[in-house]
């Protein structure tokens, strides 16, 4: 700033008079982790981050950081320290911490209901161990459904979400109808608001179903794994062309309910790894504005399929990076599409708000962010808990709607103990990780793969994958190019 004498009659004190003295600050809690060979990512517990060179990190701690330097300003602005006599930093941190943790007080938002386990496709990665369409013994009864709805309305959440999972929910549409109508009635009586989504392969979409969904404001979520050959390879059906049925279904839903009434997500198989651009192109071609790149889950048929679906975390990360680069490139060329998981991580990195995504919470989101009611009345702490049970291990079963009440299940040892042990703030390998404020716990996955709800982070694929994602995303943001501008447009 100009230190020249000021021109007017008044004499102001110059900027130097206000410059803080070297080292006259108190550090506030922060974590750090290398970003690359030269730089470190520093984060604090409200999720503010700063990328600095190793020398600046050392100077920060040694209190030899030069006031007036870029690093000093960046770190002060993000409350990595505060100067003598100032308390606003603490007030800002407190406000941001409350804001970030607010979803905890919201309690369970996502309520998944499995109206039937029957299905008419045989996806190679099916996480549920699909039953053939004719098996009627895996349908939910009205009495069970009533109890599930009662349970849902016990949650204090201001944004209740009801999601029909399967099986293929439309194979038991009578039950879907029953639950939706009952929910809409209850919602009105209680002055609540529930958003309802059916996760479906859309093969059974019909005019009456669409009319019903329009009247009751029900939306759809479907799976689209890529171009025809890839989709049909991953999601074969004995009865129909899976790809055609999905596209016809998407079109019909959009025509009847609006363009945004159906979203899609993809699952990455071995066959997908070499085709990130084809997959993105398929989504763009079908008019989707977003895509959700998901690695395969280690449950159900996915774990049995062995070589068909198996790949390393590093391979998936490469796939993700290629796809993300391509998506960013499309955006730069004016084609709008965003990757949903990246968007979720960006919200956690760049905004003061917490996110409700079940698999990325601390404590874990099982039960308290999302919960699942199976067709037989069993209540599971998450969708993955149910998948695990279908494989023979009911570890995360909280109880059954027919015998157990809300309090018993929500205060069950398995849930409370798991939550207590999955706060990343205190978990070995997480507590001192620079990415801790952005990450979360997935106890079911760690239990499945490592036999322990906390898990061993050095060999955890969850940890490896998320570390890679955080480094990649922060690297792009810090690069400050067009790519970072594109990503910032995805935050909300």
């Amino acid at each position: 700033m100009p230190a020249s004498p000021l021109s007017g009659q008044r004499h102001f004190r110059l900027q130097d008079d206000f410059q803080p003295e070297m080292g006259m600050y108190q550090l506030l809690p922060f974590r750090f982790i290398p970003l690359d060979a030269k730089q470190y990512v520093l984060t604090n517990f409200v999720g503010e981050y700063c990328v600095v060179e190793r020398e600046s990190l050392q100077a920060l701690v040694a209190k030899t950081l030069r006031p007036g330097s870029t690093a000093y300003g960046a770190l002060k602005s993000r409350q990595f320290f505060f100067e003598a006599g100032e308390t606003s930093a603490l007030h800002l941190l407190a406000t941001k911490y409350r804001t970030k943790q607010a979803p905890l007080a919201e309690f369970t938002s996502l309520h998944m209901i499995v109206p039937t386990l029957r299905c008419n496709t045989s996806c190679i990665y099916c996480q549920v161990s699909h039953k053939s369409a004719a098996t009627a013994s895996c349908d939910m009864t009205e009495a069970t459904a009533d109890r599930a709805i009662d349970f849902m309305f016990r949650s204090p959440s201001s944004c209740l979400k009801l999601e029909f999972q399967g099986g293929e929910p439309l194979l038991n549409f009578d039950m879907v109808r029953y639950i939706v109508e009952s929910t809409r009635r209850r919602e009105e009586q209680a002055g609540r608001n529930v958003s309802i989504v059916i996760c479906s392969n859309l093969s059974l979409i019909s005019e009456p179903i669409l009319q019903f969904c329009k009247k009751n404001e029900v939306q759809f979520s479907t799976s689209l794994d890529g171009p025809r050959d890839l989709h049909n390879h991953n999601r074969p059906s004995a009865d129909f062309d899976s790809y055609d049925q999905t596209l016809i279904g998407i079109r019909r839903v959009r025509d009847a309910l609006g363009i945004s009434a159906v979203s899609a997500l993809m699952t990455t198989t071995q066959a997908s790894l070499s085709r990130p651009k084809d997959i993105v192109d398929e989504y763009v071609g079908q008019g989707f504005k977003s895509i959700f790149l998901r690695p395969i889950n280690p449950y159900g048929f996915a774990s049995k399929a062995g070589a068909m679906t198996h790949y390393s975390t590093a391979e998936w990360v490469e796939f993700y990076k290629t796809a993300l680069d391509y998506i960013i490139d499309l955006n730069i060329r004016g084609i709008r599409i965003r990757e949903e998981y990246t968007a979720l991580l960006l919200r956690r990195i760049l905004t003061p708000y917490g996110t409700g995504y079940v698999d990325l919470q601390s404590p874990a989101g099982i039960g308290i962010s999302g919960i699942l009611f199976n067709h037989d009345g069993n209540v599971y702490a998450s969708d993955e808990s149910r998948m695990l049970a279908e494989m023979g291990d009911p570890h995360f079963r909280l109880g059954n709607l027919r015998q157990d009440n809300y309090e018993d299940m929500m205060l069950s040892d398995v849930l409370v103990d798991t939550l207590k042990e999955t706060m990343t703030e205190g978990v070995p390998g997480c507590s001192d990780c620079g990415f801790q404020p952005y990450c979360g716990s997935d106890p079911v996955r760690h239990y499945r793969l490592q036999g322990d709800i906390v898990g061993f982070k050095p060999t955890s694929e969850f940890c490896e994958r998320h570390m890679a994602l955080f480094r990649h995303i922060i690297g792009i943001l810090d690069g400050g190019s067009c790519a970072s501008d594109i990503l910032k447009g995805w935050m909300y």
Partner: protein
């Protein structure tokens, strides 16, 4: 302006406010707080008006007590419903409120605890009169007044009296939106902020300036150590009490380079802001005295301003760009530019005459015709 009193008797009355009327047959119950603006000679005795204003020097009072005051030609624009303050002893006349204006700003106290290097209204010694005149003027204002601005000085230095004033405005002008321009420092007292919130004014916004994301830089610009710390706590308290906060960033040579990081700071810490205003400098007051040190051509910070606005928009925070002529702004910011300059100090330059977007441009401060961007030029095509 010197106030001439035709009776030659010394007029020792304390300052007061009157509402202008041109209707000699006003209900007598209203006349006590009104001034009749005379268009010609008085034909019959008109009793009860507080004072007569006349543009005609030759008029004199007849038998009655009421004073006739010569209105200087600079105030000849006053109309029915406008409110004028009269200081009989100093002979000072000021228009406090114009019924036809959308930008009525009331100086509720001349004193301030900041001394911003570019202050357009440099603070003066504390003076209780300013407050009393505004207090008296409120009941005289038109009930359909769309909006009022409480300005200073620093309104919050009034403490309890500010709370009472806002309450009074809510009572007399229930549908008037109210904008309080404050540095927010006193809002660090939660009890005070709560008192304001508990007025439950339906349309109240606090406009609080923030000149940097760093305390030492902000404190430098406002020339007050510790100001940033208090302002930040004040902003948080306001939000905590559900008061609406608009953040105002006056752009100067001293802080234009900080704009993007100020935006980042706001989006992370004050995402509840109902508006963030980037304001071009009004070269009066201290800004004029310190012109060389504070003036920066908007053409020199276009990219930085664009980045700062975009950052806030990414976070879905409403942005306004005030006091910037469209030709000096990137077209990407035109939708955010507001016609923000108060009507009575708003002018255009001769070269603006043929400009195609003049109708949506804010123009210039009357004070800024000498100092303006090198980018000023008429634009030929719209959008």
């Amino acid at each position: 302006m010197l106030l001439g009193d035709r009776t030659n008797a010394k007029w020792n009355e304390a300052p007061f406010v009157v509402r202008i009327t041109t209707d000699p047959s006003r209900p007598s119950s209203l006349r006590e707080r009104e001034a009749l603006l005379l268009k010609g000679p008085i034909l019959e005795p008109l009793l009860g008006f507080k004072v007569f204003f006349s543009l005609d020097d030759s008029l004199t009072t007849s038998q009655h007590e009421t004073r006739i005051v010569a209105l200087p030609s600079t105030l000849s624009y006053v109309q029915d419903g406008d409110i004028v303050s009269v200081r009989p002893m100093s002979g000072d006349l000021r228009v406090l409120y114009r019924k036809a204006s959308k930008h009525n700003a009331l100086v509720v106290t001349p004193t301030c605890n900041n001394l911003c290097v570019m202050c357009s209204q440099p603070p003066r010694k504390a003076d209780k009169e300013a407050f009393r005149l505004v207090w008296d003027a409120i009941p005289l204002m038109d009930i359909d007044t769309p909006g009022l601005i409480l300005s200073g000085g620093e309104p919050t230095l009034l403490g309890r009296r500010l709370v009472q004033l806002i309450y009074r405005i809510k009572n007399f002008l229930p549908s008037t939106s109210l904008h309080v321009l404050t540095n927010g420092r006193q809002l660090k007292y939660l009890a005070f902020t709560q008192d304001i919130a508990e007025i439950w004014h339906p349309d109240l916004v606090f406009g609080i300036p923030l000149y940097s994301d760093l305390s030492h830089e902000h404190d430098f610009i406002v020339q007050a150590r510790g100001a940033f710390d208090e302002t930040v706590r004040g902003i948080l308290n306001a939000a905590r009490c559900s008061l609406q906060v608009e953040l105002r960033i006056v752009i100067t040579k001293l802080n234009y380079q900080w704009l993007p990081r100020i935006s980042r700071f706001i989006s992370r810490n004050f995402p509840f802001a109902c508006n963030v205003a980037f304001m071009g400098l009004e070269p009066v007051g201290l800004a004029k005295e310190n012109l060389q040190d504070v003036w920066i051509d908007p053409a020199d910070y276009g990219d930085l301003l664009f980045d700062a606005v975009r950052e806030l928009k990414w976070h879905h925070i409403r942005v306004s760009v005030y006091n910037h002529q469209l030709c000096a702004l990137s077209p990407g910011l035109w939708d955010d530019a507001r016609q923000s300059i108060s009507d009575w100090k708003n002018v255009f330059l001769p070269q603006c005459h043929d400009c195609a977007v003049r109708h949506r441009c804010c123009g210039f401060f009357a004070s800024a015709t000498e100092v303006h961007s090198r980018a000023i030029k008429p634009l030929v095509s719209c959008d």
